[in-house]
Symmetry: C2
Subunit: 322 residues, 2 copies
């Protein structure tokens, strides 16, 4: 089986060779810019890895892998507008570098191109690939809307939070793997297990991301630390804090939501996170979903060496981000 | 052959029976709202009409027709954000009734659902349908971007203007017809002629739309009269005025672009349109494209009765809008 870095090279080569269109330049330049910002290319690598795992040449899954990465970047372009985010991978977001209409339109075109690339896959059952891809795309939109709802909802439960990150982030990781498995003509059962593996890794991954937003190193992640706290975002950390904080601390926390000085706000919320061991809580939740993921991976019954590579890849990615 | 009103009833029934999803309601309610605003349903009727014309049951083309209408409405939802438009069909636009993030996301989901519906078409060549659909979708985005570029470009020629409206509006009318023809398994030649018929009707249609924006009755069109003038939009009318106006009038016109009082601006630009017979010029351009469209329609060589119905439909639509 090919390693992560080999597959990363394969997809990066494909991305660097891909053109999206030329006229008008104002529309296509932001797309090339966004696609050139790099990133871990996690999703397309998973598509290639699953195809490889089930014994087919990764070339077969290359267009689907590209589709998944272009789709993911489309969601980022639009999310950055909605979240009013200035930076993405340490660089200006499309809508800050250009403007909002260009970012809307470039995103739209990326979504269309993603379907185009998927359709270039040679498969006897292209309809099933599109069906999975579109179902996932709908779910990602639903997840983003639920996430936005959380900003105005007074109470959000752990379960609602997990459902949201499942839709917004995790299903795409599951689908990335399943597309690769389907292209490699894996059994229905195996392709469903690999989906569940990816989905649960995705949930763990997002919990990790939330942890890093409060406890990470901005110079490594390329994101503003404390962004979630600053925007009163109901992450698993904040939801748990709201549930476990004593009366006076909760009252103080609710006042902090209105605090205008972002440095004070972030510092004080982090103190509360420490006091109630919120990081430990989140790490333990993360582990729960990692365990479920591994169960599904083992249920496929692949050779031990292949299972170990996928297991190691997942854990490495977690490690690399912390 | 079925009449426009029969086909309109068929597509309206289909639309009223269609659900797009339920959770989260904040995402799906705007989609149902937008789809219920009505309109002429021109594009899906054309899809059904082409299928009928080439001798197949319109039921076969119903999902493709729905796809085309949902796609068209997706572009309207996003265009209304970019154009900062308050009204659509006499009702509040999605982004005014809800907000910008909801309008972005609801539009994204509509684009995804459009592909879903298209894929539900029973066809031996689903890939060709998706290819045409996606090519058209890309062109519509390109057209919208070029239209936005026109706002900042100092000089726009007639040719550039026609290319823009071709991409932004006309190709979708052509594709709506061609999809119906392809589903009915018409010959390649015939399906290309019907595309060209639709495309050229579309160009005429858009010129008509521009004429109505300046000379129409707002209570009939459901739009603000003079909106294009107000935003200095380079329509065929304004481009021709810029080219034909004498030195002093042109200077006055350029000053009017900066006029803050919209009533004065609209009134004075309309006076210049009258002085230089700009409406006559635009009507004559419109006729040119109508003539090209009819040539392509006749080249298909269908029975006279069928050709006449399609010809009458096109002219009726023009009439109804004036």
């Amino acid at each position: 089986m090919k390693s992560y870095s080999e597959l990363l090279q394969t997809i990066n080569k494909k991305i660097s060779e891909t053109t999206y269109g030329s006229y008008p330049n104002e529309l296509y330049e932001p797309i090339s810019y966004m696609m050139s910002l790099g990133g871990k290319r996690l999703r397309p690598v998973l598509t290639l890895m699953a195809c490889d795992m089930f014994g087919k040449d990764v070339e077969k899954a290359l267009n689907a892998a590209l589709a998944v990465e272009v789709f993911h970047n489309f969601t980022l372009v639009h999310d950055d507008i909605m979240d009013n985010a200035p930076l993405r991978r340490g660089k200006e977001t499309v809508y800050k570098k250009w403007n909002m209409p260009v970012a809307i339109l470039a995103g739209d075109l990326m979504m269309i191109k993603a379907t185009d690339f998927l359709c270039e896959t040679e498969s006897s059952d292209i309809k099933s690939l599109i069906f999975l891809f579109n179902k996932t795309a709908r779910e990602v939109c639903e997840g983003q809307q639920i996430d936005m709802n959380f900003e105005v909802n007074e109470k959000v439960t752990h379960e609602e939070y997990i459902q949201m990150i499942c839709l917004k982030t995790a299903v795409l990781l599951g689908a990335s793997l399943q597309l690769g498995a389907m292209i490699a003509e894996a059994s229905k059962e195996a392709s469903e297990h690999i989906y569940e593996f990816g989905k649960n890794i995705g949930i763990a991954f997002q919990i990790q991301d939330d942890i890093l937003d409060s406890f990470g190193d901005g110079s490594v992640t390329g994101k503003q630390v404390g962004g979630d706290i600053s925007s009163n975002k109901k992450t698993l950390l904040l939801i748990e804090l709201l549930e476990s904080a004593h009366k006076d601390d909760k009252k103080f926390l609710l006042e902090l939501f209105k605090e205008q000085d972002q440095n004070i706000k972030i510092t004080e919320v982090l103190k509360l996170y420490d006091k109630y061991q919120i990081r430990d809580f989140a790490e333990s939740k993360k582990q729960t979903y990692l365990d479920i993921a591994m169960k599904h991976l083992h249920a496929i019954g692949l050779e031990k060496a292949k299972t170990e590579i996928l297991e190691k890849t997942a854990l490495d990615l977690m490690e690399r981000m912390s």
